[in-house]
Each structure stands twice: as structure tokens, then as C-alpha cells.
């Protein structure tokens, strides 16, 4: 469906196949229905034609039967002549229902002189038939042509329709069937011979309603039959109608001309809606209904099948989108927190990283993903082994995760502290790691902040010299070290002379700058391994470590004294300052902090009392 979706407009997307199936199904149904309908129509037409044909046949056969009857009388007269025996013959005929409509069989004798055809016999001799005796048939213009036709052709002729009351046989529509009787000895062959040989006519009055009623008791449902005299189906010429009520909506209509005994009858057959069901027309509609239903069901089914796939695709798209959104959220959260993400696939040794990760690692965004060896090379040498070991522990499953702080090259010759966290997220059946995920945080600022806090806790904020606590800690450490390794230490105490008057006179700002200048000169005067501290307002202390002798210490003290004695330019003021110093050497002047400090303090005060000069180990040397 995805390809279909690309090929169809949006409104058709997902509906193309069902619509196609529906269209094909409907077209097929319509085609089948049309074919079935055409066949049904053909069957209907054939059925109707057969009914029309059958109706014609019935009339023709009935009239043929009547003719045979008349020929029987004709033959009897040829053979026997006398009429009295004809009565016996007629009486013996089986004139039952098969000859319904036949009012009797009789004879009209021809009297050439007056030109009359007088009824002289009509059997059975019931009262009604006896009334017809003596009637001159030639006098009736509707009968006369038939008499003449029968006479000239030698065949049976039928009169036109007329009211049988005309021959005194009751009021009913009917006709006369006439067959000539010639002189038996003449056997005429031409019209002239027949006219000369004519003796009489066999006469059979037929009542039309009775005749037709006996024929069409089994007319198919929905059919209406009418019989007319002549070729025009006019009501005035109607001989018979199977139903008195008007025809219902006519579905089909057909007519056939019957030429009978010189008369033409028109048989009109009409079919209404009741005729169609028997011919299978409803089946055609059922085909259409069934076809439409089947098409709809197929279309529905194809829609269900097609849309289920579409729905699955939609679900997959939703899930993918949700996953992508989730990834974006996590990435944003992590990136927002300043962390980079890394994904390490062990089998391929492929490392996938986020932009932030590259930023922390000083790699351009567009750079290729680094491999693990490049990663290790960028780690500070002091940290590398530790990092490798911790990662290996995690990969081996000894620890569930790693969280390591180490330094990496910052690309500018310096180092940057980072925090890496990681865990193995996928292992194979042998618990071998397959994939490891983790984050990388830049903790340089944090580390610097922590360093500053530690520095501030152990140093004098004005001079950035070790404060009393830090100095004591360093001194205790150095004493323990010296004690252990039998080394010497030197401790110098000093305070500034006349600092207070300067501070009072020029203000704290000048005093603070003076103290900072003193601190710098102190640091410059000692070795890097020595420790300088500020333990009071204008009191400083210097711890000399390493191989220290009293002489070397004295040199340092002299250097300090001289440095501090140099003039200072502070805030436009030219200041000169002196200090008082006291020196003590471990282990000679004291074995511990207290004794050593006391020895240095005593020496300093001795010097101070001695007139501002100073002498190592308390000895006065003179200025």
C-alpha cells in the first residue's frame, strides 16, 4: 500500500484497492446481470412466442377437428344419401367436451332456382335447433360468402362472425362452418363443375365463447388472449377474450393471423408481469443483487486487509516517531545537562558519539568517530592506567558501571578534567560484552572550583600565603618526615617593625598592599619547596625543608631581611620597612612543633630586643 499511496491522491490512499475491487465487482456483476437479463429476456420472448404459437395451434387443431367432423357427415351423405339415417349418424358421434361450442350438425339444402340454402336438418334435434330449420342461409350477407367459397373450393369455409340469433340459435357470438355436398356421382374438379354438382352444405353452428373456453383453461399465468375477426384487433370484431378485465401493464404483446376456411382471425396475446417470473427474469435480478452484495463484501474484505497493513505501518510509524521523540528528549536532556553520549559496539569496535561528546573531547562536530586507541592516547598519562583498569572491571562484569574522573588533553597543551560514566547494556550468551553506553561530562570548572575552595581554606586570602592551620599541617608533616628520615628543618619567624603606624597613618589599603608586597618578597626569597605562612597581622613564618643547615638557613634569613628592607613604592608612597627575625633548626633547637616554634619565637624577640638586628639561633651579630 505504501507504493499505492505514492501513486494515488491522498483521499484515495488506502482506498484504492477496495474501490478497485468494488468497481471490478460491480462491473462484473453488471455484465453478468446484463447477460443474464438478456438471456432471460430471450427466454421470456421464446416462452411468449411458444405460448402464441401454442394458442394458434390449438385453434387450428380444433378447427381441423371440426372439419374432420364435417367431412364425416359429407362422406356419410355421399355414401347413404337419406337424411333420416344422417340423424342416426350424428347421434352416434362422440360430441363431448372435445367439440365444445359446436351447437349441432346439420344440412342446408341448395335450391338453385330461388337461390336458397335452407336449413333442413340440425342435430341434435333439441327445441333450439329445431327453431333454425327453414332459415335461408343465403339471405344472410355474413354467411353467403362462406357458402359460395365452400361451394367453389370444395373445402370447408367459415362464415364471418355473427350473432347466432340470426339463425335462431340464441344470442351468442359465433360462426358457421360449411362444407359442400356434391352429387356423389359427379366428382367435380373445377369451379364450374362444383357449382353444377352442388346439392347441399354440411352446416355446423359454432358458439365462440364455448369453443374458446374449452381450449384455454390452461392458459399460462399472466397471459391474456383475445381473438378477433379480420386483421385488426378492434373491440367490435372481438370473437373471444380470455379475461373480461382490461389487460394489466403489458410486458409483451404478439399477434398472429390465422387463415381458416377463408376467414382471417387475429389472435392477440398479451403478457403482464405475472408471466415473467416463470421465465426466470427474477433470477437476473437476483444475480445483480448477489453480485452487488458480493462486490461490497469483497471490497470490505480488501479494505480490511489493506487497511490492516496500513494500520500496522501507521503503528510502526507512530512507534518510530515516539521512539525518535524519546531519543530527542533524552538527547536534549543530556545535551542540555552538558553531557555527551557515547555508544561503543565491541564486535565492530565502532564508537558512536554525540556532538556534545565531541565538543568536550575538543573534536570538530563533523569529524569522524574516533577509535578507542585514539581515545586512550588523549588521556593524561597519570590517569590512563586507572581508566583502563576501571573499564576492564566493568567489561568483565566485576562492577555494574564505571564512573571515572580523569584528565584529557585540552588541545592547547593543557588538561581538562572529565567525568565518564558507562555501563554494559548488551552481552552475548557467554556474557561477553557486546555494547556499552555511557555519558561524558566536562568537570573542569567543578574541579577548578574545588581546588579554589581547598586553597582558600588553607591560605590567607590577602597574601595567598599558607594560613596558620595549613602551615601547622605542613610543619607537622615535615617534622614527621624529618624525624623518619633523620633530616633537618629550619623555621623562621618574623614580624614587621612599625607596621601598625604605617597602617594607621596611610590606611588599611596601603597596609594590605604592603603586606602583599612583603608576601611576594618572602616567596621570592625562599625555595619553591619551602613554605611561607602568615600567622598574624604582621607575623610571618617560613618553613625550610630538605637538607637544611644553620648556615644555609641563616643565608635564607639574611636574604629575607634584605629583601624586606628594600624600599617599597605603594600608592605613591615611598616606604621603608624592617623586620625582626628568629631562626630555629630541628632537631637542634626543638624536637617538635611547639619547642621549635618557641625557639624561633625566642630568637626573634631576642633580636628585637637587641636593637632591631637579628642573629640566627638567638646570637646577636650586630646590624
Amino acid at each position: 500500500m505504501s507504493s499505492a499511496s505514492r501513486n494515488f491522491p491522498p483521499w484515495l490512499s488506502g482506498r484504492a484497492l477496495p474501490l478497485l475491487v468494488l468497481a471490478a465487482g460491480l462491473a462484473l456483476s453488471l455484465g453478468l446481470w446484463q447477460r443474464e437479463h438478456a438471456e432471460a429476456q430471450a427466454r421470456l420472448r421464446l416462452g411468449f412466442d411458444a405460448s402464441l404459437r401454442e394458442a394458434s395451434l390449438r385453434v387450428e387443431q380444433r378447427m381441423a377437428a371440426h372439419e374432420l367432423l364435417l367431412q364425416g357427415v359429407q362422406g356419410f351423405l355421399h355414401a347413404h344419401g337419406p337424411q333420416d339415417r344422417l340423424r342416426l349418424y350424428v347421434d352416434s358421434l362422440p360430441l363431448g367436451a372435445d367439440f365444445a361450442g359446436l351447437q349441432g350438425l346439420g344440412l342446408a339444402e341448395w335450391r338453385a332456382a330461388p337461390g336458397r340454402a335452407t336449413m333442413t336438418l340440425l342435430e341434435p334435434g333439441v327445441r333450439r335447433n329445431l327453431a333454425a330449420l327453414g332459415v335461408d342461409l343465403m339471405a344472410d350477407p355474413l354467411i353467403r360468402p362462406a357458402l359460395e367459397l365452400a361451394r367453389d373450393s370444395g373445402r370447408m369455409a367459415l362464415s364471418d362472425r355473427f350473432d347466432l340469433q340470426g339463425v335462431k340459435l340464441g344470442k351468442q357470438v359465433g360462426f358457421l362452418a360449411l362444407l359442400p355436398v356434391y352429387a356423389p356421382e359427379l366428382a367435380p374438379q373445377s369451379v364450374e363443375e362444383r357449382r353444377a354438382a352442388l346439392r347441399a352444405w354440411v352446416v355446423a353452428p359454432v358458439a365462440m365463447p364455448e369453443l374458446m373456453a374449452s381450449l384455454y383453461g390452461e392458459l399460462a399465468p399472466g397471459l391474456r388472449l383475445e381473438l378477433f375477426s379480420g386483421t385488426e384487433p378492434r373491440a367490435s370484431q372481438r370473437l373471444f377474450a380470455s379475461e373480461r378485465r382490461p389487460a394489466a401493464a403489458t410486458l409483451m404483446q404478439g399477434q398472429e393471423y390465422l387463415v381458416l376456411g377463408g376467414q382471417t382471425w387475429t389472435l392477440l396475446l398479451q403478457a403482464d408481469g405475472a408471466f415473467a417470473p416463470a421465465q426466470g427474469l427474477q433470477d437476473a435480478r437476483q444475480v445483480l443483487v448477489a453480485g452487488v452484495l458480493a462486490s461490497l463484501l469483497l471490497s470490505l474484505l480488501s479494505w480490511a486487509l489493506g487497511s490492516s497493513r496500513e494500520r500496522a505501518h501507521a503503528l510502526a510509524r507512530d512507534m518510530t516517531a515516539a521512539l525518535r521523540r524519546s531519543e530527542q528528549r533524552w538527547a536534549f536532556a543530556l545535551e542540555g545537562a552538558g553531557d555527551g553520549i557515547w555508544d561503543w559496539e565491541m564486535p565492530s569496535q565502532k564508537l558512536s558519539t554525540s556532538p556534545r561528546w565531541k565538543s568536550i573531547m575538543n573534536l570538530p562536530d563533523a569529524s569522524a568517530e574516533p577509535n578507542m586507541s585514539q581515545m586512550l592516547a588523549g588521556i593524561h598519562g597519570d590517569d590512563r592506567m586507572r581508566v583502563q583498569a576501571e573499564f576492564q572491571h566493568c567489561l568483565d562484569g566485576l562492577v555494574p558501571a564505571v564512573a571515572l574522573e580523569y584528565r584529557i588533553a585540552d588541545g592547547q597543551g593543557g588538561w581538562r578534567w572529565v567525568l565518564v560514566r558507562g555501563t554494559v547494556v548488551e552481552r552475548d550468551g557467554q556474557q561477553r560484552p557486546l555494547r556499552m553506553l555511557g555519558t561524558l561530562s566536562d568537570i573542569q570548572a567543578r574541579r577548578e572550583s574545588e581546588e579554589r575552595v581547598r586553597f582558600m581554606a588553607s591560605h590567607d586570602p590577602l597574601t595567598e600565603l599558607a594560613n596558620r592551620a595549613h602551615f601547622q599541617e605542613r610543619m607537622n608533616y615535615s617534622l614527621a618526615n624529618a624525624r623518619r628520615y633523620h633530616e633537618t628543618l629550619g623555621l623562621i619567624l618574623l614580624d614587621l617593625d612599625r607596621f601598625k603606624p604605617i597602617n594607621d597613618q596611610f590606611g588599611h589599603a596601603v597596609g594590605d598592599q604592603l603586606l602583599q608586597t612583603v608576601a611576594k618578597r618572602l616567596k621570592n626569597a625562599v625555595r619553591e619547596t619551602d613554605t611561607v605562612g602568615r600567622i598574624g597581622g604582621d607575623e610571618f613564618v617560613v618553613l625550610l625543608t630538605g637538607p637544611v643547615t644553620r648556615d644555609s638557613a641563616q643565608v635564607v634569613a639574611d636574604k629575607i631581611f634584605n629583601q624586606l628592607a628594600m624600599p617599597m613604592e605603594i600608592a605613591g608612597l615611598h616606604l621603608e620597612l624592617t623586620c625582626s627575625l628568629g631562626l630555629a633548626i630541628y632537631p637542634e633547637d626543638g624536637q617538635d612543633e611547639l619547642s621549635l616554634t618557641k625557639a624561633a619565637d625566642d630568637a626573634m624577640y631576642r633580636n628585637k630586643r637587641a636593637g632591631r638586628a637579628w642573629m640566627g639561633n638567638g646570637e646577636l651579630r650586630g646590624p
Binding site: S56, E60, A64, M156, E232, Y257, L258, V259, G261, G262
Partner: protein, 265 residues
């Protein structure tokens, strides 16, 4: 089927074979049983009113030459074909073949003719095709009649549209054409005497189908007559053609040129 005017008549031929010099005793048809032949009332072929016509003359000649006893009836054409198919009738005359009829009937041709459409002038036809195009027009035909190829196609096409009205006799069709119940009918040269009527000429026109003349002949039932008997009767008809008997019969009813054209096929 219509048995209007059924009339059994017997023409008894002379018992002397070879009277016409055509066949001798050993080669003639089998006359050991009464044979049946039916005529149909159709213009000059046979007129029931006068009991005369071409077919009756042909039948008389067949009786005379074969020496057989033929029981002749007058039947409707449709009934004749039914009886020929069932074997209830041995012969009829002036029949034309068709693939369907050839299955149950054999023929011995003795003339051919064309078919024409006799149509009312108020149908306003220029060509025969115009008739089929106008659904209001109806065609009258004798039931069971077949014609030339184009005429058959027209009849079948109109029949499927219920535009054909059947009749058991020709006279009814002329009457229906005159009264406007039908607008056309198919005619043959045998119907010319009726066309001589001035009234019919006034309101009608004749259109040609353009097909080749269709052979007509003696119809023999394959059911009742063996192949060898059919051959003997066919030889009899051919002898009538060869010696000019058929042409002489036709010349009684048609002008000599038309008669010669009809029997020369």
C-alpha cells in the same frame, strides 16, 4: 398446425411405368405403399380457392411419371415442415433448404427465385435497411417460412425485437398490409397476381434484397424415404427439368422470360 381446408385427394397415376419415357420398372421409386404429399396455399403455387397452381401441376406430373399413389393434402407450411421432420409426411413442394432443414429433409431442385420486400409507401423506405432502423415498423411473414440470406437476417433481427407478426396464410398478410397492421411483407413471384390489384399498388412499393435467387424444390422426408428412394425421386424431377416439363408448367403462370429464368438455375 393449421389444417385449414385439409383435403385428402388422390391422383391415381397410370399404372403403366415408362409412359413418359423416363424410367422403367426397375429404376422407378418404390410405390408399394401410399405416399403422402402436402400443398400449401400460396399464390400461384397453389390456390385453395381454385384448387390449382404450379405445385399441383408438379404433383400431378410426379404422380404421372412415378406411377405411385400420392395422397395430397392442403396444410399450413409450418405444419408441413413439422410432418416432414417427423416422417409423417413424405413430400411437399417448392421448399428451400437451410442448415436446420437439411438435417431432416432432402431436396430435388426445380426452380429458383428471388425475394422482395413489399412495403407500404407511408413507411418511407429508401432502402431495406431503413425498415430495421424504424422500431415502429412491423413485418408480416408466413410462419416457418425461410428466405434468402438478407431476408432471413432481417426476419431474425426483427423477430428478436418482437416486430414480426406471423400468419398461417398469405391472404391475411396482404389484408394486414392494406390495413396498416404491418408495414411490409416478403413476397415472391408467385404473389404477383395479388399485386396486380390496383389498390395494393397504390400504397406499396417493392424493394430488392439483392441476394442471389434461392433454389426451390421437391421436399423429401429423410425419415420416411431412404437415400436410394430420394435419389430416384430426384432423378424424376431432373428428368422433368431436362425435357422442359417444368418450364412448360411455369409458362402457364408466368411470362416466358420469367418462367425460363426461374427454371434455369
Amino acid at each position: 398446425m393449421i389444417r385449414d381446408g385439409i383435403k385428402n385427394r388422390v391422383w391415381v397415376a397410370g399404372l403403366l411405368l415408362g409412359v413418359a419415357g423416363v424410367a422403367h420398372a426397375g429404376d422407378g421409386p418404390d410405390c408399394s405403399r401410399p405416399l403422402t404429399l402436402a400443398l400449401h396455399d400460396h399464390g400461384l403455387l397453389y390456390s385453395a380457392e381454385t384448387s390449382s397452381g404450379i405445385d399441383k401441376d408438379i404433383a400431378d406430373e410426379l404422380v404421372r411419371r412415378s406411377g405411385c399413389r400420392l395422397q395430397v393434402s392442403l396444410l399450413a407450411r409450418a405444419r408441413i415442415w413439422q410432418l416432414i421432420e417427423s416422417g409423417g409426411l413424405d413430400f411437399s413442394l417448392s421448399g428451400i433448404g437451410s442448415p436446420e432443414r437439411d438435417k431432416f429433409a432432402a431436396f430435388a431442385w426445380y426452380f429458383s427465385n428471388k425475394y422482395y420486400l413489399l412495403a407500404r409507401r407511408d413507411a418511407q423506405l429508401q432502402r431495406i435497411e431503413d425498415f430495421e432502423r424504424n422500431p415502429a415498423l412491423k413485418l408480416g411473414v408466413i410462419r416457418s417460412f425461410r428466405y434468402s440470406e438478407s431476408a432471413n437476417r432481417l426476419v431474425d433481427s426483427l423477430g428478436a425485437q418482437q416486430r414480426v407478426i406471423h400468419s398461417s396464410g398469405l391472404s391475411a398478410l396482404f389484408a394486414a398490409l392494406g390495413s396498416g397492421q404491418i408495414q411490409a411483407m416478403i413476397i415472391e413471384p408467385f404473389d404477383y397476381p395479388t399485386l396486380e390489384s390496383a389498390r395494393i399498388r397504390e400504397f406499396s412499393q417493392i424493394l430488392e434484397f439483392g441476394d442471389q435467387p434461392i433454389p426451390h424444390g421437391l421436399i423429401m422426408s429423410r425419415v420416411s424415404l431412404s437415400e436410394s428412394e430420394q435419389g430416384k425421386w430426384r432423378a424424376l424431377v431432373e428428368s422433368m427439368l431436362r425435357d422442359g416439363t417444368v418450364q412448360r408448367i411455369f409458362e402457364k403462370y408466368f411470362k416466358p422470360d420469367l418462367a425460363r429464368a426461374m427454371v434455369s438455375f
